[in-house]
C-alpha cells in the first residue's frame, strides 16, 4: 500500500442555501478543492462522490455521473462512483478512494460529499433521514432518529450513569466552535439553559440537542503523486481509514448505549495509524444528537474520563481535548453525505495551521468519526502531519 496524502480541500458554506442546487454545491466544493491542490481537472484520475438520499430529497439518482457532468468532466470521461452508507457516506467514500489510490490503481482522486436537504418540508426530511434506520422494524412504527437517541438518553439517566447537563453541554461546545467558523450553518454561541429550555423534539431531547437540516458540499483531493505531495505546503497524510458495522436496528444490539462499531473502527484505526488516543489533538465526532456525541466520547475515553472531560469543559479548542472544532454537525451543519468529507476538510485546515480563530496550536494528529444512523456504520479516519 502506498502513502496517500490530502493535497487539497474545499467546502461550500453549510446552511439553508435556497439559491443553490445539488449540482451547484458539488461543483463549487470540487473546484475549490482542485484549486487548493493547484491542479487541473485533467490531473484527476477518478471521482468518488458521497450522497445519502438525493433520490428522495430531489428525485435524482445517478449522482456520480451528474456530478462529473456538472463539474465539467464529461469530455474527459473519467470514472465517477457514488458511495452510500447512510450518514456515513462521506467517510465510506474517503475509505474507498483511499484504497484505490493506496493500491496504485489511481494516483490522484477527488472525493466529494453533497446533500441538498431543504427542497422538501421538514416532516418529509425527517422521514428521509429515518431511511438510515430499519424501515420495517423501526420507522414503520413511528420511530425517528431523534426518538432513538432520546430513548438512549432516558435509559442512561435512569441507570444513573449520566446527567441531563452532561449531554446538553455537547451542543454548547459545538456552537462556540461554529461561531468561529465562517462556513458554519449556525454562527451563534448558545448557553446550557438554551438547550434545556428549547422545544422538545423527542423528550428529553430538544431542538438544540439535534443537528439541523442543511444543504452543503465538501471535497478533498487525495494523491500518491510525489510531485504533487512535495508541491503542497503542508501535506496531510491519511494514516488510516477503518469501517465497522453493527446491527441496523438499535433494539437488536447487545446494549442500546454502546456504539460497538465505533469501538471497533477507532481501535483498528489507531492501531493502523500506530498512535495512541492520547496523541489525538483534533477530534471530530458525529454529534447528530447531543447524547450520541457523548456516547462516542465514552467509547473512546471510557465512561469516567469522558464525563470528566465534559464536566471540566475540556472539549474547547483551547483546552486539553479539542472536540468538534469545526462546530460539529450541530453548528457547522448536517448535510448527510457531506459531513464525513467536511470533517476531513476541518482536520486538514487544523493540521496545516490554517484554522484561523479556532486553530488548535501545534496540532499533529486528528481522529474523525463519521457514523451512519446511530452507529450501524462507523468510519474512523486518522490523519497526521510530519
Amino acid at each position: 500500500m502506498r502513502d496517500v496524502y490530502i493535497v487539497g480541500v474545499g467546502t461550500t458554506k453549510f446552511g439553508e442555501l435556497w439559491d443553490k442546487s445539488l449540482r451547484d454545491l458539488a461543483t463549487e466544493a470540487g473546484l475549490k478543492a482542485i484549486t487548493d491542490a493547484g491542479i487541473y481537472s485533467e490531473d484527476v484520475n477518478a471521482l468518488y462522490g458521497a450522497n445519502t438520499s438525493a433520490g428522495q430529497f430531489i428525485d435524482q439518482e445517478h449522482i456520480a455521473s451528474l456530478i462529473a457532468d456538472a463539474a465539467g468532466l464529461s469530455e474527459l470521461g473519467i470514472p465517477s462512483i457514488r458511495i452510500e452508507a447512510g450518514s456515513a457516506s462521506g467517510g465510506a467514500a474517503l475509505h474507498e478512494a483511499y484504497l484505490a489510490v493506496a493500491s496504485g490503481k489511481y494516483d490522484t482522486v477527488v472525493v466529494g460529499g453533497v446533500e441538498k436537504m431543504t427542497d422538501v418540508p421538514p416532516e418529509e426530511a425527517n422521514k428521509i433521514i429515518g431511511g438510515s434506520l430499519d424501515a420495517e422494524w423501526e420507522t414503520f412504527f413511528g420511530v425517528t432518529e431523534a426518538s432513538l437517541a432520546a430513548m438512549i438518553a432516558k435509559r442512561l439517566e435512569y441507570e444513573g450513569k449520566i446527567r441531563r447537563e452532561d449531554y446538553a453541554s455537547i451542543p454548547v461546545v459545538s456552537h462556540r466552535h461554529g461561531s468561529m467558523n465562517e462556513t458554519s450553518h449556525f454562527r451563534n454561541a448558545i448557553k446550557l439553559e438554551d438547550v434545556l429550555k428549547a422545544s422538545y423534539v423527542a423528550q428529553p431531547l430538544t431542538v438544540f440537542d439535534s443537528a439541523p437540516l442543511s444543504d452543503g458540499a465538501s471535497a478533498v483531493v487525495i494523491s500518491a503523486n510525489r510531485t504533487l505531495i512535495n508541491a503542497s505546503e503542508n501535506p496531510v497524510k491519511i494514516l488510516s481509514s477503518e469501517i465497522s458495522t453493527d446491527y441496523l436496528s438499535l433494539h437488536d444490539r447487545s446494549s442500546i448505549h454502546s456504539i460497538n462499531a465505533f469501538k471497533r473502527s477507532s481501535k483498528k484505526a489507531l492501531e493502523s495509524a500506530k498512535i495512541t488516543k492520547e496523541k489525538v489533538d483534533i477530534l471530530e465526532l458525529h454529534d447528530s444528537y447531543s447524547i450520541v456525541g457523548l456516547l462516542q466520547l465514552m467509547e473512546l475515553y471510557g465512561e469516567k474520563e469522558a464525563l470528566d472531560l465534559v464536566r471540566n469543559e475540556e472539549l474547547y479548542w483551547n483546552k486539553s481535548r479539542p472536540t468538534n472544532t469545526s462546530g460539529g454537525l450541530k453548528a457547522h451543519g448536517n448535510p448527510l453525505g457531506a459531513v464525513g468529507i467536511y470533517q476531513v476538510v476541518e482536520a486538514a485546515l487544523q493540521l496545516r495551521g490554517k484554522a484561523g480563530q479556532r486553530q488548535v496550536k501545534g496540532a499533529r494528529y486528528a481522529l474523525l468519526h463519521n457514523m451512519g444512523g446511530i452507529g450501524a456504520t462507523s468510519v474512523t479516519t486518522v490523519l497526521g502531519v510530519e
Binding site: 413511528g142 432516558k154 422538545y200 438499535l250
Partner: protein, 134 residues
C-alpha cells in the same frame, strides 16, 4: 405508495409477534431472522418460528413531538423499547396511556392496532402497539 405484498408478507410477525429461535444455540429473535448472528452458517436449517407471549416491560421510552410525515397528526405520541419476557427488545408505540403514567419498568402487553394508512383510498397498515398492564 407501496404495493400490498410488502405488508402481507410481514403480517404473521406484525399481527402475532412471530419471531424465530435458533435451535443451534437457543437464542430467540424478534423480528425474525433467516440466519443466527451468533451461529451464522451453523444455524442453516435450524431457525424455527416462535410466537412471543406479547408481555414485557418498558426498557426505555420517549414522547415524540417532531414526528414523521405519516404520524404528524398523532404527535405527541409515546415511543418505547419493550423488553419482552422472552428476551428480545421490540420498538413500538405505547397507546391508551397518558405519558405521565409510563415509567421504565412498567408492565405492558401487546395489542393489534392500525399503524398508518396511505391516504383515504390507500392501504391501511396494521401492526403491534403496547398498552400498560393495570
Amino acid at each position: 405508495m407501496s404495493d400490498v405484498p410488502r405488508f402481507w408478507r410481514e403480517s404473521n410477525h406484525r399481527y402475532r409477534l412471530v419471531g424465530t429461535k435458533c435451535n443451534n444455540c437457543g437464542s430467540i429473535f424478534f423480528p425474525p431472522r433467516d440466519v443466527c448472528p451468533k451461529c451464522r452458517r451453523e444455524s442453516i436449517g435450524k431457525m424455527q418460528e416462535l410466537e412471543l407471549s406479547g408481555y414485557g416491560e418498558v426498557y426505555s421510552y420517549t414522547i415524540v413531538h417532531d414526528g414523521l410525515e405519516p404520524f404528524k397528526f398523532q404527535v405527541p405520541y409515546i415511543m418505547a423499547m419493550i423488553k419482552t419476557d422472552e428476551g428480545p427488545l421490540i420498538t413500538g408505540q405505547i397507546v391508551d396511556a397518558d405519558p405521565s403514567e409510563v415509567k421504565i419498568g412498567s408492565r405492558v402487553r401487546v395489542t393489534l392496532r392500525r399503524i398508518r394508512e396511505e391516504g383515504k383510498t390507500g392501504i391501511i397498515q396494521y401492526g403491534y402497539k403496547f398498552v400498560l398492564e393495570k
